[in-house]
């Protein structure tokens, strides 16, 4: 890979047919330290990801024309042609992209719509207008991906850097849970880091399911397989 940890930014693909809302979500995401790509339709989103109608192959490396991977997709619900729900379904049906977290935004608070999206696999549902505080719900996803990328880096290019991973973490993290995680990161030994990471990531997954935005109705079941982390939970 060769990419320094400091350069990597969580890449979000934002989909919205409204020009005003695209501008707004772009700025909100930038302010939350994300790299942003905006498109104005579900079709363009699929194109960007490399999924063209009827030409999908099962080889993930052949698919995406974009130089960088997409870490999260945030999409408006009400769009002409392909709705956000349609896009969500297409993504979840795709072997290559079903593990990318998807967030749905809508200006209308319709409980049936919200539960349908969550059941189809959306991670979160934001009511518009979206605010900075809403984007804090994305932080667990960002941390998880960042840790995964950092660990992958280390596995591929093991280093004797005595600063370890702590130095690579961005200083502006203020959330106390994130501080907990950072404290757990200092590497003790060769085998230690992988085990520590697994614990940390399991905590994150717990946080994720606690923070999930539920529908207005009580007792909604969100029985879905949790995304599995490949390549990290190896035998220690």
């Amino acid at each position: 890979m060769g990419m320094a940890a400091a350069e990597w930014k969580f890449h979000v693909l934002a989909v919205d047919d409204s020009l005003v809302d695209r501008k707004l979500i772009e700025r909100l995401l930038q302010k939350s330290s994300c790299q942003v790509t905006t498109v104005d339709s579900g079709y363009k989103a699929l194109e960007f990801l490399g999924l063209r109608q009827g030409t999908e192959s099962n080889d993930p490396t052949a698919l995406s024309p974009s130089p960088q991977e997409v870490n999260l997709i945030i999409t408006d619900y009400c769009m002409p042609g392909m709705t956000g729900y349609d896009l969500l379904k297409k993504l979840k049906e795709s072997p290559a992209f079903k593990n990318i977290p998807v967030v749905i935004m809508s200006s209308e608070n319709v409980p049936a719509r919200i539960s349908r999206c969550l059941e189809e696999g959306a991670e979160e549902f934001f009511l518009k207008p979206v605010r900075l505080a809403d984007l804090n719900k994305l932080k667990p996803h960002m941390m998880k991906t960042k840790l995964k990328n950092q660990k992958l880096e280390e596995i591929i290019t093991p280093s004797n850097d005595e600063n370890g991973t702590v130095a690579a973490v961005e200083p502006e993290i203020k959330d106390s849970v994130e501080m907990e995680i950072i404290k757990m990161l200092p590497i003790q030994s060769e085998t230690e880091p992988k085990r520590v990471l697994l614990q940390v990531v399991q905590q994150e997954e717990q946080m994720l399911s606690n923070n999930k935005r539920k529908s207005m109705e009580e007792g909604l079941s969100t029985d879905r397989p949790r995304p599995r982390l490949e390549g990290i939970a190896t035998a220690v």
């Binding site: 005003v20 707004l24 700025r27 605010r131």
Partner: protein, 154 residues
């Protein structure tokens, strides 16, 4: 006019927009997104809103002037305007759109015509007020001053 005077005028003017319900707290959210790296964010978004809205209002006028009104065309336009006005905090425009959509649902042509007039009225009002606000800001910046942060305690 002295800089301090201008800054006070801007604050009073902005405050009045909130008190009159022309703007709501979403506008404050926009201001929070503006910083040294994006010093013109608010005016950029608002300009996009004006361009978008001018187009939508034009389309709406055309749609409602047809012999047979196609509500399947009218409603999405109003929905879009409701969305964008909500996104920038143009509260009265948004509220007028909500009423408009109700009449669309009832397929009430007369009601829709009245609503369009109301939406236009609120839109031109917020447009006028925001353009004045931006002018005040520009005068302050041109005089070497800073735009005072909005006090939230009113």
């Amino acid at each position: 006019m002295e800089l301090v005077q201008m800054q006070k005028s801007l604050q009073d003017y902005t405050k009045s927009l909130f008190l009159d319900g022309v703007l709501d707290s979403q506008f404050l959210q926009l201001q929070q997104l503006q910083d040294e790296s994006n010093p013109d964010f608010v005016s950029q978004v608002v300009t996009l809103f004006f361009q978008d809205s001018d187009r939508i209002l034009n389309d709406l006028s055309l749609s409602l002037d047809q012999q047979v009104v196609d509500f399947k065309k009218v409603d999405p336009h109003v929905h879009q305007l409701k969305g964008s006005s909500s996104s920038i905090g143009a509260q009265r425009v948004k509220n007028a759109c909500v009423v408009f959509r109700n009449f669309c649902e009832q397929q009430n042509v007369e009601g829709c015509h009245r609503c369009l007039q109301q939406v236009k009225k609120e839109y031109y009002l917020v447009k006028n007020r925001l353009e004045t606000l931006f002018k005040l800001e520009q005068q302050i910046v041109a005089s070497g001053g800073m735009i005072p942060a909005m006090e939230l305690g009113f």
